[in-house]
């Protein structure tokens, strides 16, 4: 018991939680935008890989760090566009298309990596984003050192929570996206294009997802590994439901998962002798499922989620 309390009170635990949560924040926000518009994007897992690969590769080939971030976002947007074309005007199954995108995007990323670097045994490293020292903020007790250890991408993720919230709730575009996910006819009857809104939302959401991947290779680590995304995309899909499609709750959900994960690592070192390590590895997922079960009962799904819409049809 004492151990857990000690962990929970330590700065390094909270710093790690926030770091682990960062890619999830990007991912949940991206998935949230897509689903708010009425389209499930299971391409997320693959788009994470693409973002991780492209961002890292761009930097390795000589682009600046922010250039890498931009390229990752563009690549994510490209795969988002693919998903958008398949699911919106063509109205194909969103599950099938999304899983297809994940397989395709993952393979293309691995393939490009192997083609660019045929015979390396240890992956080449780049100089990643460094912790950002912000004046005043970093001087705060406790909080300061939690935040001080974070890189610019974490700050960007936190900023995006606010941006997405503002766009969704305070701008005409956000209202239109919410409407198209609830009842596409409402948008069509007001002369807006259902297709343009949905496709735009998917592309934008996918670009955000790719940033989650980019964080992995450009901030959390400094190289690209196979399998490094490791299900983070799927976690985001669950977290959106937990968040009931709200940016604020999405941040909370991501932090909660980050905290479970950080705790798990620390408990493993403290109590590893008593309990098999796999139990700890499993813990964040099990706790997520439990949280999801509790939260999902009151979640209000976008009514038109998964339902394709065609112009001129009943």
């Amino acid at each position: 018991m004492m151990d857990i309390l000690n962990i929970l009170l330590s700065e390094s635990f909270w710093a790690a939680s926030l770091r682990i949560a960062t890619p999830l924040i990007f991912g949940v926000l991206g998935a949230l935008i897509c689903e708010r518009a009425g389209v499930l994007n299971l391409g997320i897992e693959g788009i994470f890989v693409v973002g991780a690969m492209c961002g890292w590769m761009a930097v390795w080939l000589g682009a600046g760090l922010w250039g890498g971030v931009l390229i990752a976002a563009l690549a994510g947007g490209f795969f988002g566009l693919l998903h958008a074309i398949l699911t919106v005007p063509l109205g194909l199954s969103q599950h099938v298309s999304g899983l297809g995108i994940t397989l395709f995007a993952t393979s293309v990323s691995y393939f490009s990596y192997r083609t660019a670097l045929p015979n390396v045994s240890s992956p080449p490293r780049i100089t990643p984003f460094q912790p950002l020292d912000l004046p005043i903020l970093s001087d705060l007790p406790f909080l300061g050192s939690v935040l001080f250890q974070q890189t610019a991408l974490t700050w960007l993720a936190l900023l995006m929570v606010g941006v997405v919230w503002y766009v969704m709730n305070r701008t005409a575009l956000g209202v239109a996206i919410q409407a198209v996910g609830d009842n596409p006819d409402s948008v069509d009857a007001q002369g807006l294009s259902v297709y343009a809104l949905r496709m735009g939302a998917i592309v934008a959401g996918s670009a955000l997802m790719a940033l989650g991947g980019a964080f992995l290779t450009m901030s959390a680590f400094d190289a690209f590994f196979f399998g490094m995304v490791n299900g983070r995309g799927w976690v985001c899909i669950a977290l959106v439901i937990f968040a009931s499609w709200r940016p604020g709750k999405a941040l909370f959900g991501a932090l909660l998962f980050g905290a479970f994960d950080a705790l798990q690592v620390r408990l493993q070192t403290e109590m590893g002798a008593l309990v098999p390590g796999q139990v700890f590895l499993m813990a964040p997922y099990i706790l997520s499922i439990i949280a999801l079960v509790i939260a999902a009962r009151s979640a209000d799904y976008p009514r038109a989620l998964l339902t394709p819409w065609f112009k001129g049809q009943r």
């Binding site: 305070r170 701008t171 005409a172 575009l173 209202v175 239109a176 919410q178 409407a179 198209v180 996910g181 609830d182 009842n183 006819d185 409402s186 948008v187 069509d188 009857a189 007001q190 002369g191 807006l192 209000d300 976008p302 009514r303 112009k311 001129g312 009943r314």
Partner: protein
């Protein structure tokens, strides 16, 4: 003569083999109220959807007057163009996003999408101005999902007026309104036509057509078969034009009631709102009897219907169907006990829109041997059964293998009737069964209900239409605030007062 504001010239539209509109021409003058009539599936909605740009006509053109009064061709197939030309449309089914407020629904599409800020104050002021002028009140700030149907209908009209509509199209605006709400609505609309608004409205209720329109146009099987001034029209003449023959009046013979087929004893339902609440009600329906439940919607009809169809579990009380008590009410248990259900919201609770007409006809009895064998569906049997029923019940549309959502509202109802009556249920729950139906189809529903009664079924008829209840019911019970009061009298006036809660 006032100037012309709209002319539809030779519009045609077909869906596969269905000719929904064939060379239809129509004009509308400034300040005029034109009623568009026709049977279910006659093509009224299709015609208006072409005007608004939802459907692209196969042939024909549309001219609309601009602000200066000159007629200009309208770009077809673009709602955006129709809106810009001053055409506003209130669709047959609500086109509202339920997760955003009325204000957001109204301003949707008229603000620049990429602006960083919205001027909600200005929008609200403009809407409030319109509300004041038109009398169409609705709460603006709460999510539309929490508004009543009457309020939603007003929001739909506000949407059109907010876009400065000069031509307003209303597709069955009163189908879901109570008679009082409908009257208020039309008075508001009348007031607006004095300011130059022109209106086309579609309705199956001849009373309001005769009371509120200036001119009447009639469609039959997609063809315009007549046009006349309302002052020169009467119900008979219109009915003859619509169906090509007079609709027979439904006649009802006296009949002795038999054994009870349903008994509710002290049944209570605690719901989230008044419309889902029942307070310890007793109700008995006998064979050879139609029991009319009269009441203003939202007084517990919903809860009663849910109990009888097994969708809600009562918090207290007992339900008997024929002679057995239903201890665990589920929809399945009710169907097997012999309850046939004609639900209120036929699109959501009556059919599965994406499944075919044929599948929908057997959907309540997938376990039957005619439908499946060893767990596999018998497609041929299902289809020939559907063809037979479609013929018998006159279900018209693109065929039994088409998705059922393509049927017109009236034909969806006929599909449900076919499914229910086919199996000779002992108890029939008919919840607003003629809402949105044309006269012929409504008479058909009445005839079928009487036929079932003759055969020995008991019928619970829930309706807001007092004339319907007075015409069909053997006994009348008034529902108010989740409580039932039986009335001996069959007097319109008196029952109306009881519904409003002003007489015991």
């Amino acid at each position: 003569m006032p100037e012309q504001v709209l002319s539809l010239n030779g519009l045609s539209k077909r869906f596969g083999s269905v000719v929904a509109n064939d060379d239809v021409s129509l004009t509308l003058r400034r300040g005029e109220v034109l009623a568009l009539l026709g049977e279910n599936g006659a093509g009224k909605t299709t015609l208006m959807n072409m005007l608004f740009g939802h459907y692209l006509p196969d042939a024909g053109t549309i001219d609309v007057s601009d602000e200066a009064g000159r007629m200009r061709p309208l770009q077809l197939g673009h709602p955006q163009a129709a809106l810009a030309a001053g055409i506003g449309m209130v669709h047959q089914h609500f086109t509202l996003a339920e997760n955003i407020s009325a204000l957001d629904n109204i301003t949707l599409g008229s603000e620049p999408l990429l602006a960083l800020r919205r001027d909600r104050k200005a929008a609200r002021a403009k809407i409030e101005g319109i509300i004041e002028k038109s009398g169409l009140k609705a709460p603006l700030s709460i999510p539309v999902g929490r508004l009543s149907v009457g309020e939603r209908q007003r929001v739909e009209i506000l949407k059109a007026l907010y876009r400065d509509a000069r031509v307003l199209v209303l597709d069955e605006p009163t189908a879901v309104l109570t008679p009082q709400e409908a009257d208020t609505l039309f008075e508001n609309i009348k007031a607006m036509t004095n300011e130059g608004l022109s209106v086309i409205f579609i309705s199956h209720k001849l009373r309001e057509v005769l009371a509120f329109s200036d001119r009447i146009a009639v469609l039959r099987h997609g063809v315009k078969v007549g046009e006349l001034e309302t002052s020169a029209a009467d119900e008979k003449a219109i009915a003859r034009m619509m169906v090509g023959a007079e609709t027979p009046k439904v006649s009802r013979e006296r009949m002795a009631a038999g054994a009870p087929v349903m008994q509710l004893k002290g049944v209570s339902v605690v719901g989230r709102s008044k419309r889902d609440t029942l307070q310890c009600v007793d109700l008995e329906v006998r064979a050879h009897e139609i029991l009319g439940i009269a009441g203003i919607s939202g007084n517990g009809q919903n809860a009663l219907a849910q109990v009888i169809s097994g969708l809600a579990v009562p918090t207290a009380g007992a339900i008997h169907i024929v002679d057995s008590e239903i201890s665990k009410p589920t929809p399945q248990a009710m169907v097997s006990a012999g309850v046939g259900r004609i639900p209120e919201d036929r699109h959501r609770e009556g059919i599965v829109g994406a499944m075919t007409v044929a599948e929908n006809m057997v959907i309540e009895r997938l376990g039957d041997m005619q439908v499946q064998s060893r767990g596999l569906l018998r497609r041929d049997a299902i289809q020939s059964n559907a063809k037979k029923l479609a013929k018998e019940y006159d279900v018209r549309g693109p065929g039994v293998t088409a998705p059922s959502r393509l049927l017109s509202g009236g034909n969806i109802q006929k599909l449900i009737l076919a499914r229910v009556f086919e199996h000779a249920p002992k108890l029939i729950l008919a919840n607003q069964p003629t809402r949105g139906l044309d006269m012929g189809a409504a008479a058909e529903v009445g005839r079928r209900l009487l036929e079932a009664r003759e055969r020995g079924a008991g019928v619970v008829l829930i309706s807001e239409d007092l004339d319907e209840i007075l015409g069909l019911a053997d006994r009348i019970v008034v529902i108010r605030d989740g409580q039932l009061t039986e009335t001996e009298s069959h007097d319109r006036e008196r029952i109306g007062l009881m519904m409003a809660g002003e007489a015991a």
